[in-house]
C-alpha cells in the first residue's frame, strides 16, 4: 500500500486511490493519523480530500434518498404495520393470561351467583376463619349489606331466584368442582341409600340476597334426586371423608351451640329450625310459573327468613301428606347444598353460602 512515506510526491493526495481509501475509512488508524497530520499543513490537500468527500457524500445521499423513499412508502401504505415476532408473542401472552384469569374466575371464584369484588374479598376472608368467627363475619356482612343496599334489595328480591336447569350433564365444571372436594359431612349418605353425586346450582341473583334477614325471600330451585348408586370413586372418597365429616359435624354443632348462646344473650327468639311448607304449583307467582314450565323437573321453593323464623315453601304437585311433612328431614351434603327428604322424594337445593339455613326442620303447625 502506498503511503505518504512511500510516495515520492510529498502530497499524498495526488494518489486518487489513497484519497478514496482515506475518505471511505479503508485504511488503518495509524496510517490515517499520518495522513491527517499532513492535511494540517497542506491546504491544497484538504481541498482535494474535501472534494472527494463531497462526491462520496452526494452519491450516498442519492442512495439514502432512494432507500428513505422506499421506507416512507412502506410505512405509509401500512406494510410497516406488520407485527414483528416479539410483538405477536407479547400479544399472545397477554391473551393467554386474560383467558386464564377468566377461566379461573368462572370455575373457581363463583358458585353461580354474581358478587361484587368487595363481597368476594369478604367471603375469602370468612373462609379462612374458624366457624365461630365465620358466624361473626356473616353477621357483619349482613349489617354492611343492609346499610349499602337498603330499599333496593326489597325491590330486587322478587326477581331474585335460585336454581338452574339440571347441570348434572350440561355443566361439567360444577361437577368437577364438587368432585375435587371431599364429601363434607357424614349425613351425605342417606338412610335410604347413597346420595347421587348431583350438582345443584343457584341461578345468578343480585348480591342483595345476602341480606336475607332484612329482605327475607329468596327463590330456590330444587332437584328431585334419584336413589342411584354412587360411582365407586365417589364412594371411596366418601369413606375417606367420613371421619373428617364427623369431625366437622362436631365443630358445626359446637359452633351452633355457641351461636345459640350468643342469641340468648341478645334476647333473640330461640325457636330454631326450618319450617317446611308445601303449596301447589298453581300458587306460584307468574314469573316462577314460567320458569317452572320451562323446566318441569324442578321444584321451586321460596326461602323466607326473619330474625326468628326460617320457612321453606315447596311448590309441587301432587302435595305430600301432612304426615310426610312431619317426618321430613334436612341434611347438608356440601357447604352450599342441602337435601330435603320428604315422603318418597329427596329434593336437593343449592343454597348461596351466605344464606343461613337452619339444618333442622321445625315440627308443628303449618
Amino acid at each position: 500500500m502506498k503511503t505518504t512515506m512511500q510516495n515520492q510526491n510529498p502530497h499524498w493526495t495526488s494518489d486518487p486511490d489513497l484519497v478514496e481509501r482515506y475518505v471511505l475509512y479503508r485504511i488503518d488508524s495509524a496510517e490515517r493519523s499520518q495522513l491527517a497530520d499532513h492535511l494540517r499543513v497542506c491546504e491544497d490537500c484538504v481541498c482535494v480530500v474535501r472534494n472527494e468527500e463531497v462526491l462520496v457524500a452526494g452519491i450516498r445521499a442519492h442512495g439514502r434518498a432512494a432507500l428513505k423513499g422506499r421506507l416512507k412508502e412502506r410505512v405509509a401504505t401500512g406494510q410497516g404495520r406488520e407485527f414483528s415476532w416479539y410483538q405477536l408473542a407479547g400479544a399472545a401472552a397477554a391473551i393467554v393470561v386474560l383467558i386464564t384469569v377468566g377461566v379461573h374466575n368462572r370455575w373457581f371464584m363463583t358458585d353461580g351467583v354474581q358478587r361484587s369484588p368487595e363481597t368476594l374479598d369478604m367471603m375469602e376472608e370468612k373462609q379462612s376463619l374458624p366457624l365461630k368467627e365465620q358466624d361473626d363475619a356473616e353477621k357483619r356482612d349482613e349489617r354492611i349489606s343492609m346499610d349499602q343496599k337498603g330499599e333496593e334489595a326489597r325491590q330486587q328480591s322478587e326477581g331474585a331466584s335460585a336454581g338452574a336447569p339440571d347441570q348434572r350433564k350440561s355443566v361439567p365444571q360444577r361437577q368437577m368442582q364438587y368432585e375435587s372436594t371431599p364429601a363434607p359431612v357424614a349425613e351425605s349418605l342417606s338412610p335410604r341409600g347413597p346420595v347421587e353425586p348431583y350438582s345443584l346450582s343457584a341461578k345468578p341473583v343480585p348480591s342483595t340476597v345476602m341480606m336475607l334477614q332484612k329482605n327475607p325471600e329468596v327463590w330456590l330451585e330444587g332437584r328431585i334426586l334419584e336413589g342411584e348408586t354412587l360411582p365407586s370413586q365417589v364412594l371411596e372418597r366418601k369413606d375417606r371423608a367420613e371421619e373428617e365429616s364427623k369431625r366437622k359435624a362436631a365443630e358445626m354443632s359446637a359452633a351452633r351451640r355457641s351461636k345459640e348462646g350468643a342469641r340468648m344473650e341478645e334476647g333473640i327468639d330461640q325457636q330454631e329450625g326450618l319450617q317446611l311448607i308445601q303449596r301447589p304449583l298453581a300458587d306460584l307467582p307468574q314469573s316462577q310459573q314460567t320458569r317452572q314450565r320451562k323446566d318441569p323437573e324442578s321444584v321451586p321453593a321460596l326461602l323466607e327468613r326473619s330474625d326468628s323464623l326460617a320457612q321453606l315453601t315447596l311448590f309441587l304437585d301432587p302435595l305430600h301428606p301432612e304426615t310426610d311433612l312431619d317426618r321430613a328431614a334436612i341434611e347438608q351434603v356440601t357447604r352450599d347444598s342441602i337435601v330435603i327428604d320428604v315422603g318418597a322424594q329427596r329434593i336437593g337445593f343449592k343454597i348461596p353460602r351466605w344464606v343461613d339455613v337452619p339444618l333442622q326442620l321445625r315440627k308443628g303447625r303449618r
Binding site: A57, G58, R60, A61, R64, L67, S84
Partner: protein
C-alpha cells in the same frame, strides 16, 4: 449495564436482516422506535414531520454502517437510533442558527455520533452531486452507488452487474467517476 438478552437477541436478528439487505428490518425498527423519536422531537420544538424525518435519517445511518461493516454492536439499537437522531437534530438546529456545526473528528465513530462524511450528506454540495448523478447513465449511477454507498467490493460488483472481473469494474468505475466530476465541474462554473 448490559442490555437484556431478549433485546440483544432481537437486535441481533434485525442486524442480520440489514446485513442481508432486507429492508423489512428498517420498517421493524421504524415502528419500534417511532414513539420515542417523535416524543424527543416534540420535546425539542420539532414537529411530527421532524420526528419522522429524524428517525428515517437515523435508520439510514444505521443501515449504511451495518452494510459497510462499520457498526459496532455495543448497545441496544434503540439507544443507537436515539443518540443518532439527537445528534442529527442538534446539527439541524445549529444549521438553522447559522452556527458552525463544530469540529468533527472524522476518525471518531462513537455510537450515534455523526461523522464528517455523514454530516456532508445534508449539505448543498451533496445535493449538487445528487443532481449530477441523475444526468449520467444508469449503469454508471448503479456502479457508483454499489461502490460508494453499498460499499461492495469490486468482485461483488462484478458479480452483481455482470462484469467480467474486478479489474473491469475498477476501470469502469474510474470512467464513471471522471464523468461525474466533469458534470459537477460544469455545474460549479455555472
Amino acid at each position: 449495564m448490559k442490555a437484556p438478552l431478549f433485546f440483544l437477541d432481537t437486535d441481533a436478528k434485525i442486524l442480520d436482516l440489514i446485513r442481508k439487505g432486507d429492508e423489512e428490518a428498517l420498517v421493524m425498527l421504524y415502528e419500534a422506535n417511532r414513539r420515542m423519536i417523535m416524543a424527543y422531537a416534540a420535546r425539542n420544538n420539532g414537529t411530527a414531520d421532524d420526528g419522522q424525518d429524524l428517525l428515517q435519517d437515523a435508520l439510514m445511518v444505521l443501515w449504511e454502517r451495518v452494510r459497510a461493516g462499520r457498526f459496532e454492536f455495543s448497545a441496544k439499537l434503540s439507544t443507537f437510533l436515539f443518540a443518532t437522531a439527537k445528534n442529527l437534530w442538534m446539527r439541524r438546529l445549529a444549521k438553522q442558527r447559522r452556527e458552525s456545526p463544530g469540529i468533527l473528528d472524522p476518525d471518531s465513530h462513537p455510537d450515534g455520533g455523526i461523522s464528517l462524511l455523514e454530516s456532508l450528506i445534508e449539505s448543498e454540495e451533496a445535493t449538487m452531486v445528487q443532481e449530477a448523478l441523475m444526468t449520467i447513465g444508469e449503469q454508471c449511477r448503479q456502479l457508483l452507488l454499489l461502490f460508494y454507498w453499498e460499499e461492495l467490493s469490486m468482485e461483488e460488483i462484478a458479480g452483481r452487474m455482470g462484469f467480467a472481473n474486478a479489474d473491469t469494474v475498477k476501470s469502469k468505475k474510474y470512467q464513471c467517476k471522471k464523468a461525474l466530476e466533469r458534470i459537477l465541474a460544469g455545474v460549479m462554473k455555472e
